[in-house]
Symmetry: D2
């Protein structure tokens, strides 16, 4: 399956519909069924001690899965997150970006399932792993 | 099991360790193994359209489970979230607080498991439901 | 919402489509959005030591959610499990039935979400808790 | 980290502690942090129509994660499953073995987290994906 929207088109759409997070996330690469995103190291995502907070990790996983669905299905899909199962495994490295590698495991007519793995930039160890399910409305 | 910390003590501790979310969350009630919290309706949690965002719902569920563990185990527990499974079921009502009812299902020596149900204030319908696992460090 | 099928009708349907588990599960009660089921204490579900195995607990949670969907939607729904998040919290009591209390948290057009809590018969302590999502085919 | 037990040692241990599933599962390969297992196509795992049932898929994911922990930690670990999040994505191919590829994402002192992907033998498409958490007792 080919992409419906490329990286630049998805990025422009995100800026338009989620202006409040502009400057927080960046799409490093987007290809068929795969994405790499980063959460830029900002004070506002931090826990005391300088590491990224759980909700910020959840956000990065969620937006990565959304970008995957959007890239494959296009703007007409008002896909909504229906579930997320996330395991937090290690403390992120303080003061560096958090990198998400997302893979669309299933893209059905009704449901999409994504797997997202989070690492601190420059590190191999997994910080967290999430699976996310998106419902794709029938009227697309 | 009795509470190790009461509502006021837990609230004071949260203000101290998470000053960046002060004013976002409020503990309505805290008793043995049960808590009711609210996420105050603020612009910063909102999606376009005025509803609470997924990450804000995750945060409310996570902090509710944290408050439960803290209330039962006390300050010495540097409990950390190890996993969360959350189902998003309905769109929250626009412009109102989000209410969490949390219950500690298990409080073991190593692990605590909480169930959290989210509703829009004044509404019976569930917006989301989460289970969260916290690891309790052995050295307590 | 009223039941589409009552307890006896659902039980007869289960016997017909899953003859291989006849005699394993029993529906104690079925009402709108709620079910109580039991897994009868049999040798074949047991781990060494006499407790119910994880897969048998998963089965009981899954069939409880299926019975809920079937009771509410009726036979025409060939609902399939799309996800399950289960927490195992305590060892079941050896040699007794396992009881499931299931609640349908959401019954949408495309998705149903159920919460199921498992206890050993005669005991208050939770053995496990599961959330299950069922996809309901669009052609019903 | 090196393996504490090799494939043959783990297989012998499984036969000893879970004699009731002997002949159902086979370890194809076991290396540091990775395992490939199969569920042999048997009538007893089948749904009407000849596909593998949800509980049988859960069992395969669970035993794969258990084999990973056992291989890395050795017999002294009486590790127990504490949670599982599983997504069922496609119907398994009728009448063929189900293959699990498992990876240990984290092996901590208290918790191990595994990712398991299931496919029908000879097929690339994912049938299911699971994350499983095992608690490792402190007294090892």
């Amino acid at each position: 399956m080919a992409l419906a929207l490329n990286r630049e088109e998805v990025a422009a759409y995100l800026d338009e519909v989620f202006p409040q997070v502009r400057g927080d996330f960046r799409i490093d690469s987007l290809s068929e069924m795969r994405v790499t995103m980063r959460l830029l190291a900002h004070d506002r995502h931090l826990r005391p001690g300088g590491t990224v907070s759980g909700p910020a990790m959840f956000s990065l996983a969620d937006v990565s899965a959304y970008v995957l669905v959007l890239g494959m299905v296009g703007r007409k899909a008002l896909a909504v997150t229906t579930s997320c199962a996330i395991d937090f495994m290690r403390k992120p490295v303080s003061g560096v970006d958090l990198i998400a590698e997302g893979e669309l495991l299933k893209l059905g007519r009704q449901l999409a399932v994504a797997d997202v793995r989070l690492r601190s930039d420059g590190s191999e160890a997994l910080v967290a792993r999430a699976s996310l399910t998106y419902a794709i409305p029938p009227e697309r």
